[in-house]
Amino acid sequence: MIHRECGVLKTTYEADMALYPLPIARWAVGVFAVLFFLVVPLTVHEYYLSLANLVWIAIIGALGLNILVGYTGQVSIGHGAFMSVGAYTAANLATRLGSPWPVNLLAGGLMAALVGAVVGIPSLRIKGLYLAIATLAGQLIIEWTINHVTFISGGVQASIEVARPRVGSMVLSSQRDMYYFLLVFVALAIVGTMNLVRSRVGRAFIAIRDHDIAAELIGINIFRYKLLAFAISSFYAGVTGVLYTYFLGIANYEQFQITVSIDYLAMIIIGGLGSVLGSIFGAIFVTLLPIGIRYAMEAFGGVFFSPQTVLNLIPNLRLMLFGALIILFLVVEPDGLNRLWRNIRNYFRVWPFAY
């Protein structure tokens, strides 16, 4: 938020520990809440809500990955696989036991956390690229297991249909219903992450990222906190997988392949490693930019080319433009969109009296 801090006179510990110490920031959060919970869903077309829903799912996943990669400094290429663990846990519970979605959601998250902690064990001995390859192995092993063990995958098709979630007597099926359903979890995930990273656990994560030997010397249990980071990150991934499953009505193994892991990694790198807002920016950017480029091409492509050529050009040019824009943004600001945003904010904070 663009505002100037003044008159901050804290007299209690509670005031000092508040998530938003300034009233204006609290009001801004309130305005955003009203905007997204009331104004947007009641005014825009369902199509735009479907875009929002894809963004919501991406935000939760990106937040989870950022906890691990951005805050704890442990590279992971297995995020998509942890999502599939959550998705199949929930789908199996829903179809075999008929359990309600809150139970499945929690179980999916916890199962993913467990598997994530196991996959994270190599992080105790290896770092950086080596750890990336170890998590890549985790991704492939989980993919293979789901693909081949019919007890988990529910048959050779490796896809399990799941009934729509119910709240009371209401079945959530339209994009508008899903919008609310997902938005609740997005809010929880954002608030949860913001609080996590300023807690004792979060500070331990950051200490490990900055220098793990130093962290160990000041008494941080590396073993515990590295695995905890993997578990928490995978919990987010598992929840993302469960929400995705309920969003689509099906858990399918091809929805969680390695390209998904890479997409999420791209989101947090573009958005900004080690920042909550960066995860959100990155998720929005990666999800919506290709769509925005397509709209632009549809609007202007016909001016230069025949319709058949435009159809062939759109997807190819979109890929190229998308790649070019990622490079451009990272060259302009290597620390990601979050840093770009902070620069703008800092500029306006003193505007027009810079120096």
Partner: protein, 416 residues
Amino acid sequence: MRHHLAIVTAVILAVGSLLTAGPSHAQAKSEIVIGVQCDRTGPTQIVGTVLCPAFHDYIALVNSKGGVDGHPIKAMEIDHEYKVPPAVESYERHKKEGAVTMAVYGTPQIYALTAKLTEDRIPGTSPGFGSAAAADGGRYPYIFPIAATYWSQGAAAVEFVKKQLGGNLKGKKIAYIFYDNPAGREPIEVIEDLAAKEGFQLKTFAVPPPGVEMGAQVLDIAQRFRADFVIAHLFGGAPSVSIKEFKRVGYPLRKVVSFVWGAAEANIDGAGGFAVADGYYAMQFAGVGTDYPVLNEIREMYKKQGKEPPKEMASTVFYNRGVLIAALHVEAIRNALKAKPDGKLTGADVKGGFEKISNFTLGGLVPPLKITATDHEGGGLVQIWQVKNGKFEKVTDWFAAYQDVVGKHIKEAAKK
């Protein structure tokens, strides 16, 4: 700092102009929209870059003749790179633009959209991919495979092998080499049932993704298992590799029959050309070659506009499949308009239109499908073509096999 600001301002302006330049164009009242999903840039682009232009060519042909009962058809294409989230976006966009039928592309995509299609009551087609269980129109009312599913292809392959081996499979050895993903494994249960029924020995050989390394499996088939016939079910670049490998170990290609995704000119060219692949059998759900009246009409249409026919037409297998998919959508719309001449079609009307398709053959390019409210596959008809004399030659006419066994599996799947 200032140049950062300039960039950000430019981006904000660009986004703002995008939002205002969005889909605000009004539609002609009687236009009928088909939502077309496509993969021209993803892992299956060798299919999409030919199949999608063919779809548009056929729609252009229909429109050049005045549309369907005077209603112009608009095929709105969105490329999804074979990814699921863009396919969801594409579906919602098509729905917003008023699409009454959707040509979905890709197995994960049709799975992801099944629930939505059913809730929104819009028919979606999955020719040659998706779940074989979707042939059951009672269980999946809005999903239309409209071509032989992998189960029907498996049954047809066994029938073909039986004919090639003299009408009796007792004691014969058949190898099934497949891409190790759900689509590759899907037909195994049907082929296993047929092995028990016909008394042949079946051995399966999995090729792990991405399917470029299968020397060991092919050597095993040729030297150790010594298969009497091979049924291949591979995707992407894998069929070309399999042809090369069979050639290398000296296994005769006239003892190999491939499912529909290893059956195109691109697969043969990838293996080194038609001379190399001589003898290879390929299964088809659309006619092959350039010798069909509808293709002549498309060439005529281009000639009238003073243009050369598109180069995609040379890749006849994928091109003709694109024409088949487009033609079946148009035929469903035509049937729906017969029942509702005012042109205000809904998805449910077009679903009814699909279920009235029968004996629509387009001069032999489309099999004589009979799609009903319970059978959305239309009979599971395929043709077998062989690589011979530098081109594909037709070996069998349209046929379906062991529909009782396939039907049993569809029923079992519907109970789940």
